[in-house]
């Protein structure tokens, strides 16, 4: 039961260009979404999040867009840097349950080449 899906297992981008990572979800009860970055042998590191009452949230080079009607969100990184090379996980939760477990997608491996 894949409630959160990242259909692109990998993405290659040149340094300085835009990276766009996509995520789809099926559970309409999800109302909070997060992106995490993960390097090998490390835990996921929080990047940016968005509540369902918004359609965009920006933090420096990172912007997350949410399309609730399509149950789709995307993470834009611009400009991409080699240090951004990592696996990116989309995650979702239900704010109103009180216990906010995260449901993760399968991840997208981003490679930014110089």
């Amino acid at each position: 039961d894949q409630q959160v899906k990242q259909n692109s297992p990998s993405l290659s981008v040149q340094e300085g260009r835009i990276s766009i990572l996509n995520c789809d979800y099926t559970n309409s009860m999800f109302d909070y979404f997060l992106w995490y970055k993960k390097y090998p042998a490390e835990g996921p590191t929080f990047l940016i999040s968005i509540s369902s009452i918004k359609d965009k949230n920006e933090d420096g080079r990172f912007t997350v867009f949410l399309n609730k009607s399509a149950k789709h969100l995307s993470l834009h990184i611009v400009p991409s840097q080699p240090g951004d090379s990592a696996v990116y996980f989309c995650a979702a939760s239900e704010q109103n349950t009180g216990f906010q477990k995260l449901v993760f997608g399968t991840g997208t491996r981003l490679l930014v080449s110089p």
Partner: protein
């Protein structure tokens, strides 16, 4: 920035043995979690812990698993009788709300 600390970083154990994975969450956080990631797969929720009791657990978290917060700072995951399929990275996390802060994980290898 406050961190979640996990020990050990790598644990090798024989099938059928008990293991205890340890975590020190961020001190002012209220919610504590264990997740795991089998090699090449997604990060999966195991259990959440709030107010000194389990608040939610997944299907994976069967009777072989238990969690404890013995002294107000440590948070442990015990696997009573390990199986080969328990081999995975285990991540502890803590939060005040939705934003989880994760530890760097314990790689459990069951042989």
């Amino acid at each position: 920035e406050p961190e979640v600390t996990q020990t050990p970083s790598h644990q090798v154990t024989q099938m059928g043995q008990e293991v205890i994975l340890r975590c020190v969450p961020i001190s002012n956080h209220l919610y504590f979690y264990w997740y795991r990631q089998i090699l090449g797969q997604k990060v999966e929720f195991l259990v959440s812990f709030y107010n000194n009791e389990i608040s939610e657990k997944s299907e994976i978290f069967d009777d072989q698993f238990s969690v404890e917060r013995p002294d107000g700072s440590n948070f442990t995951l015990k696997i009573r009788s390990t199986k080969l399929e328990d081999s995975a990275m285990y991540f502890c996390a803590s939060s005040l709300g939705q934003k989880h802060t994760f530890g760097s994980g314990t790689r459990l290898t069951v042989v």
